[in-house]
Amino acid sequence: MKLSRRDFLKLSAASAALASAGCSAPREPIVPYAMQPEMTLPGVPRFYASAASFVGAAEGVLVESNTGRPTKVEGNAAHPGSLGATSVHGQASVLQLWDPERSQAPRRMRQPAAREQFESELNEALVRLEARRGAGLRVLTPTVVSPTLQSQLVELAARLPEARVHRWDPLNRDATHEGARLAFGRALEPIYRLEDSRAVLSLDCRFMEDEPGRLNYIRQYARSRSPKPQSMGRLYVLESAPSLAGAMADHCYAMPLAEIERWLLAFANAPAADRTMRAIADDLKKNRGLILAGEGLSPWAHALVYRLNHELGAPVALIDPIDPYPQPHAQSISDLAQAMHAGEVELLVIVEGNPGYDAPADLDFAAGLARVPLSVHLSLYDDETSARCTWHLPATHYLEHWSDARAFDGTAAIVQPLIAPLYGGVSPHEIVSLLLRRPQSGYESVRGRWKAIDWEAALRKGVVENTAFPPVKAALRTVALPTPKEPAAWSVRLVPDSSVLDGRFANNAWLQELPRPDTKITWGNAALISADSARQLEVESGDVLEINTHGATIHVPACVVPGHPEKSVTIALGYGRARAGRVGNGAGCDAYPLRLSDSLWSADATSIHKTGSRQALATTQNHARMEGRGHAKHIALADLIGQARAFEDETPEHSLYPAWPYDSYRWAMSINLNTCVGCNACTIACQAENNIPTVGKDEVIAGREMHWIRVDRYFEDRRTLFMPVPCMHCENAPCEYVCPVGAPVHDSEGLNLQVYNRCVGTRFCSQNCPYKVRRFNFLQYSKDDEPLKAQKNPEVTVRMRGVMEKCTYCLQRITRARIEADKENRRMRDGEVVTACQAACPAGAIVFGDLADEQSQVALAKRSPLKYDLLAELNTRPRTSYEGRVVNPNPELDNG
């Protein structure tokens, strides 16, 4: 009688949980607390507000804790960087916390060593350096979003004036800030108010995935898409690499970066000369246009965009950067590398980041590091940089430490720990306090920084009131515009990966297995290439390309993507890691060798050719065309006006059998394709909530991924259409009547249930599911590993092999709400049940609720003229329905 996981989770006190792990007793133990912690009730989850930073700004989170274990991350509606939504990284961060391969002990020259030894070595060095006012001490950090850490670093500079603090963040804002420096004479950060503009032109700006305000911007974008002629916005996108914005654009033009810059110059100088430019320029002028510039563009292009926005009166505010570092990161790390090579660095403290892997290739950072007598690396993993440093210290995860963080608009939030450091990690504040020779806990540092605020309220709410940066009034200067360089024959565009970003999430299986939005590739990257270019090189998806640039050669499999710019390949950074861990090692290919400090986002290729070898791409969707089947429907705004129904209802009117009566709640979901940007937050939120296992690259190739809600992506009519597909909860469910044991059945509220403990695994249900949303545990995918199992949601059964599973409409959440309502003898209210996918969605594209309540959000959505049922003609009567997408092309332009 093996200890069952759920009982284990439910009953073990947090303190006893890890101690008693893995014990297999003939009798099941029931372990109470010795000392009852305050405010905990076993079996009742609690939520704590905190903040997580992934792309250079904080996203507010509410973290669910079950008997002391953080299990799930939700968005914080009060936080401007979240607005209630979460990014895929926010969702996956909880898995990172429990990653068994996180570094668990300090290491000296790769060997486990005692922390005391580290402190004494550090102190010894510091004593020596202090005598020289810090000369020889260098600190390297990624973007610092923590005001407390900023103050600590300022204090360090004051104490040791000869010491230097460097920045290197692979996802830096150099171009944006340098552009502002050109335009205004100081580094500034633009804050877009997309919803105030009815015509947005994005110049390669990846504002839905990589910009610090991404969640906020997606929400704003979604709001701007209300399909009304007076208010609906229009989005023009010029992109050098597939992006979510490009997929959502009403007009999307793909061209390499250099071409975009040339286009911008022409657009700024003589928009009337070209029909497209003229139409866009007119639209921008008429409709409070806004231009967004991406990090890939040169500073001068940014400066030009600042000027054009100014001329347009665009809804954009300028604020001080949330990390007020005076230098571009590329410059800063170059200086550091130079100093290291020159032997000027005696003590280097790298506070997070992984420059040994991701520093610009031309700096030869690793070799420089070898010349530093005492180097210290603080990081979550014992990674590539750790291996080259004298010391490696395990860092604390953000769910383990006290800190603070600013959102993209400057709003501060307190980062509070939900669990004591699992492996005795050190927080950035603590290590800097060691450098200050005034050892302090993180809590003391952070509390000390925020003396004047209502601390309790800030913790409860998850934001510190009134800390957003005020807009800056800055005068424009004239900018000398260069003659743009001739584009190279072939260029390589480097982009942060939507899953692993710069590589820091490489060991996160959820993110690795999350299909990348544009390619549906998992477990790796590829050289994205247009169909025409692929034909030219005679390659197909999966053929390995050899790419040569000045000084570097990489091998990477090609992946043909319709709508990709010609003569260009896009490669995501963050792969090919050697010391990521068992999950991340060897996934994909490393594109950092192509990345130079003077050209962070693109490289000119001297040659690209096919090698002849092949590498299977683990894609979750192998067929990108819809074959005219109209699953993901869309309609032009002009065609929608005056229509009661945008799409014909093909549900057969008659049924042989009478319909079952539903006299209680009637759960239903509506998914709005008009606002869905395809970011995958729903998929990964569902994975976190519902204990969905990952299966690994080989199993994905075999076609066995487990996601309960997948985001289909079709290329149709020169558009990219996204379509999240969960279980449809059909009233006439084809899956049910074929099951010999009645494992899939309906309940009285219309949920299509899958009773795992009844399932014998005939897979008949999946065979008969026209939507193919059922997932099968072909092998034992759910592992019972410590400490990963601590992440599991105790309210959801962990499925064993041989069992079918699928979306349950978050039955556990319905049940919880029902029990609370029943205790109060009332009906559940609209909005009381929020599914995991719905909660995570930055666009608010998913609504869920009770159809029996005519006023519920979902009932409202079902009355929308855009509503349609997927495969309605099969008479499955799905409870999940869609609202079709509305595109708003400019009538002056023909590609739409």
Partner: protein, 173 residues
């Protein structure tokens, strides 16, 4: 001695001889006549006094009960015991109860019919007096036997001898 005798047995070479002998025995007033043949001989059963064959009736009744029981089982479990909404179909989805009903009809008819056949034939009966006659081994090969049960042995031998058999044997009990 005669009390321990099961009967008197005669061996014949041909089915026709056996048939004739059986008829003659019955005509001669022998009530308990048994005829053994290596394959079914048409008319032989009637010749030895076989009247009523219950096997078809057994099969019919069993099949009927199988059908009723099979349908009842499905109706009871799906409508009464635990009605569950499966795919929006009514609890009493009678068209879909037909295949199992049919299969159970056949199953019950076949199994009960087979058991009934054995029972009526008094099988299995591993020990039987006729096996005491060594020549009876040929009854499953090429010879035909007539056995007059518990008749007065001398008269029976005489009677059988008149039928020109290949041989005559006493069948000990």
């Amino acid at each position: 001695m005669s009390a321990a005798l099961y009967g008197v047995m005669a061996e014949f070479k041909h089915a026709e001889a056996l048939l004739g002998a059986a008829r003659a025995a019955r005509a001669a007033g022998y009530e308990r006549v048994e005829a053994y043949s290596p394959f079914p001989v048409e008319g032989l059963a009637q010749a030895v006094g076989f009247r009523r064959n219950w096997v078809p009736a057994i099969v019919f009744v069993a099949g009927l009960l199988g059908a009723i029981g099979g349908y009842f089982m499905q109706w009871y479990s799906a409508v009464v015991s635990y009605p569950i909404n499966s795919g929006g179909k009514p609890a009493h989805s009678w068209p879909e109860f037909i295949p199992v009903t049919f299969e159970l009809t056949v199953l019950a008819g076949a199994v009960v019919g087979f058991l009934g056949m054995l029972l009526l034939n008094g099988l299995p009966k591993l020990y039987h007096p006729v096996f005491n006659v060594p020549e009876f081994d040929l009854a499953s090969r090429n010879r035909f036997f007539l056995c007059l049960r518990a008749a007065e042995p001398r008269r029976a031998r005489q009677f059988l001898g008149a039928l020109e058999p290949l041989g005559i044997w006493d069948v000990p009990q």
